[in-house]
């Protein structure tokens, strides 16, 4: 299993190694294993941190995503 981040929407998810190349959330093909830092948003409506990062939905997001 491998933890990938989506360059388009920032989501982080665990997938079987090299099996998945499409983001299950936004459907783009721009995944990478090269990311660091993680924010878990539980309640985006009233979170200062989610607001700072413009994250509108609950979920797991990478803070830094490499190319």
């Amino acid at each position: 299993m491998s933890e990938m981040a989506c360059r388009n929407c920032g989501r982080v998810f665990t997938v079987p190694k090299k099996r998945l190349d499409v983001c299950p959330i936004c459907k783009t093909r721009s995944l990478t294993e090269n990311w660091s830092g993680l924010i878990i948003v539980f309640n985006p409506e009233s979170s200062t941190l989610a607001d700072k990062l413009s994250l509108k939905e609950a979920g797991r997001y990478a803070l830094n995503i490499g190319r």
Binding site: L53, S54, I65
Partner: protein, 155 residues
């Protein structure tokens, strides 16, 4: 009136920050309400050793969930100002914030340090088409959004 949430530092064993965060995440999700409402977000920043941060309006709920999490050393009693962790927050992928008309600087690749005006954004491919400002060439170029930094928003 809405309760004000604050950001608390949670001590962890050095090197176990992400593991503590993920265990905490599992516990919040397993408990559901009111935890998922009162606990807004939790964050692990790579450059900060021995801490994760939790944003909540109810630190007592956080203490309860931290009980028995391996490598967690508990919540520090004081809260920190959100601006203190601002410097670690890298905003979302550049592509999300770019739109036609924006002025951008190229920060990587063969056109590095040139400036351009965005003429098209392809979110599917994460590519941006630019007209270079200092170039004699009238042709727009298309490059990866990761190579760009926004200088100012267009109209």
């Amino acid at each position: 009136m809405k309760k004000q949430s604050k950001i608390y530092a949670i001590k962890t064993m050095i090197g176990q920050e992400k593991q503590v965060l993920e265990m905490f995440e599992r516990r919040v999700k397993a408990k559901g309400e009111p935890y998922t409402t009162a606990i807004k977000a939790a964050i692990w920043v790579k450059d900060v050793k021995g801490y994760i941060f939790v944003e909540t309006e109810d630190p007592i709920l956080v203490d309860e969930l931290l009980q028995g999490i391996r490598h967690s050393r508990g919540r520090s009693s004081s809260f920190i100002d959100p601006s203190e962790i601002d410097k670690y927050l890298v905003v979302k992928p550049v592509i999300e914030s770019l739109k036609t008309g924006d002025l951008v600087e190229i920060i990587g690749g063969p056109f590095k340090s040139m400036k351009g005006r965005v003429v098209a954004v392809d979110r599917q491919k994460s590519e941006v088409t630019l007209e270079l400002l200092e170039s004699a060439s009238p042709f727009p170029i298309t490059i990866y959004a990761e190579y760009l930094r926004k200088i100012e928003g267009g109209a």
